[in-house]
Symmetry: C2
Subunit: 174 residues, 2 copies
């Protein structure tokens, strides 16, 4: 969910500006760990524990329409490593219900580690989540992973590319 469906980086920037008055430029976040990219990392950690943070996160462009289409052809599961932030559980559930109403509750998985999750494909922004996965792994581009090369995983930069891979004819997975 985070950084793939939910624009957590955009939410960081917005909340950081509200808290400090400092407007961060996404370009300044490139290639840095999510929290350490900000002058006051402590604030970023605080946001993650603050009610409303996950609930009001913007949606990543293209995710709604492409996942709606994927959901017609594939057995889609939405997997979120949400367990570190217990207050996020109900917020993430409500967020999904609001922005992805076509996702049934049977398709939602909130976990700590993603090690016990199986499937044919996993799309994730963190190499640590992809490492143990047995199926095909796709690294979704986020500011924090932009400089990671030679991960061994295919990179997808946006939902248009996922659409091309999974939904258009004459391309890799179709």
């Amino acid at each position: 969910m985070d950084h793939v469906m939910a624009d957590i980086t955009g939410q960081y920037i917005k909340w950081y500006q509200q808290a400090t008055g400092v407007e961060m430029n996404p370009a300044d976040l490139m290639g840095k760990p999510e929290d350490l990219a900000f002058p006051e990392p402590r604030l970023i950690r605080e946001f993650l524990h603050t009610p409303g943070f996950f609930l009001t996160a913007p949606v990543i462009p293209g995710s709604q329409s492409v996942i709606r289409e994927l959901n017609q052809l594939y057995e889609v599961f939405i997997v979120s490593a949400a367990m570190e932030f217990p207050q996020s559980l109900s917020e993430k559930y409500t967020w999904l219900l609001k922005h992805f109403p076509f996702i049934h509750w049977q398709q939602i998985i909130f976990c700590g580690s993603k090690k016990a999750v199986a499937g044919d494909y996993m799309i994730d922004d963190h190499v640590k989540n992809l490492t143990h996965f047995k199926g095909e792994k796709l690294l979704f581009t986020a500011t924090h992973n932009i400089n990671m090369h030679d991960t061994g995983y295919r990179r997808v930069n946006n939902w248009e590319e996922i659409k091309d891979l999974f939904l258009l004819k004459n391309v890799s997975y179709n």
Copy 2:
């Protein structure tokens, strides 16, 4: 979790008595679906959506000590099909923290369907949860499954039997 670690049947009986004055005998529930075993199934469905129901569920005898031991030798994940009852998410998290403090948040999985969960062994009280699992399947005895025979899955009647299987020498899985 439910019917394996959390005594949901015991909780049903207790809440049903509080609501109606009728004390059900566990023997009367044997072999019946969880809700339909009670004269007023509507009440049982209501309990599942009532705050406090999952939070105050009793612990199944033996589960704490055996899971604590399993946790030393195996990579344990606690998987709960919690997504149908969103208010249960935070209650189940708090319940685990209270009764199983040795379980790290990274080991917790709350899902809808368990179809995307992988592992070497799954212990569950519902055949529907075991069906799609690729590893070894163990049916944990509960009132609602007591008459199910020839499921194709090995039955374990209590945590002592799980201890024997996974933790004692000279038995099947050791």
